[in-house]
Subunit: 285 residues, 2 copies
Amino acid sequence: VTPHPNVTLIGVGLIGGSIGQALRARRLAGRVVGVGRDPGRLEEARRLGAIDEGATDLARAVAAADVVVVCTPVDRIAAEARRAAALAPGHALVTDAGSTKARIVAEVEADPRARAAFVGAHPIAGSERNGVAHARPDLFDGRPCALTPTDRTPPDRLGRARAFWSSIGCTLVELDPESHDRALAATSHLPHVVAAALASAAGADRLDLAAGAYRDTTRVAAADPALWTAIFLENRAPLLDALDRLDAQLDAFRRALRDADAPALLDWWRSARENRLRFERPKSP
Amino acid sequence: VTPHPNVTLIGVGLIGGSIGQALRARRLAGRVVGVGRDPGRLEEARRLGAIDEGATDLARAVAAADVVVVCTPVDRIAAEARRAAALAPGHALVTDAGSTKARIVAEVEADPRARAAFVGAHPIAGSERNGVAHARPDLFDGRPCALTPTDRTPPDRLGRARAFWSSIGCTLVELDPESHDRALAATSHLPHVVAAALASAAGADRLDLAAGAYRDTTRVAAADPALWTAIFLENRAPLLDALDRLDAQLDAFRRALRDADAPALLDWWRSARENRLRFERPKSP
């Protein structure tokens, strides 16, 4: 018996494609169906081992699903999850892979049938590259996956969501949707904004002198504009707060630099460095 | 005949150590002498193949030097270059590896004997890790080295500086000291400031949810506080200008986000992305 007999992935890009490849490589699913609008891209996903078959019709694609994973851009997740829940069998788990959670979870939970099937999730892995061509079966190995159950989430679905996301390699972290969005604003969305702001501030004039610091700080500025615009808009208030905290840091630095205040610059850098070193430190088991 | 019979490195950390290892691995130098204050660290550099011998006395260390490379923190480079030029043979080339150039070059050129020996240089390679323990003989392979001659730089020394820095693997880029400092403020110093500001803004609360974007945008925030404080202070005005450009970018983003202006966010991201993609594009030969 495979753990997940019928899995339907709505959206088969980098994330959906990698989920499909992980399921198939580990023989975790009896059948993986990929839903998309473009038959050519579904065929590419099949050829790349991400899905067993493609479907452009949602009703048929979820009719026998045990698990539905919505992997579309964030601004379409809630609607797709509600449609899928209405069309899938009553026992199906519906989950998602969206980078934001509060609005998605609230919109899904406003629909009783969707609420009874849904557990919000965010596997925190990815790349500045999009599309199933960059999918990898090991994309989630050892990467965190946030699950954001609420007090309205059915316990059996939460148990099945835990089993699903850990089966493809994720380490689970559970927290409420709002805490998730605040954390991701700081650790992902703000870094993306800053990468892009840096790329624009540096311009293109003397990139022959750019090296490792430029390469790494701006890497994610190559990410897809539409995907990220949607994420920023979904997570507007927490991202504006994170921007304010960044501004305060930059202001403190600028003041110290303007005053040529070496001790203040040293302290400022040391405290930033201490935070960064905490990230490198091996986590306790 | 080796290209550089006697080379003296003042400062044998990551950069000096890597220069020494590159010279010795490629058999480019007859003898490499490392100058430092701590005999224990000089012995470590010798053991790691970075130098043939260590010296704590500058006069003796440069007495027979054909090339002297000053690899100390930026705030000590000009003084060391002047002292070395005063003590080295008249034919010696004195060059440096400092991340800033305008002040260093001006201070060195204020001294006639140093001016006659000196060519400012900046091999643009490094790491957030310090010390000779992280030195690598291939650190400079294919990496840019900026040379910043002025109209007072002796042409023969410039020729020898080109030969020296390209012999250890660098690709040369020549420009004036002020242009260098503006370019590096944008492509290196500002990215360092931003990495640290991000690390502080994100804090340490939910780093279990941090992934690739956080890791890469904040990597260089682990760099040495004293070294970077010195660089910021040396390059104060260009860095303040670069900070203003960054601020303007962040303000534009914040306004668009506050207004939930999707087209403006898209445009903002696209134009940043275009700059970043230029960096990845293979350079024309």
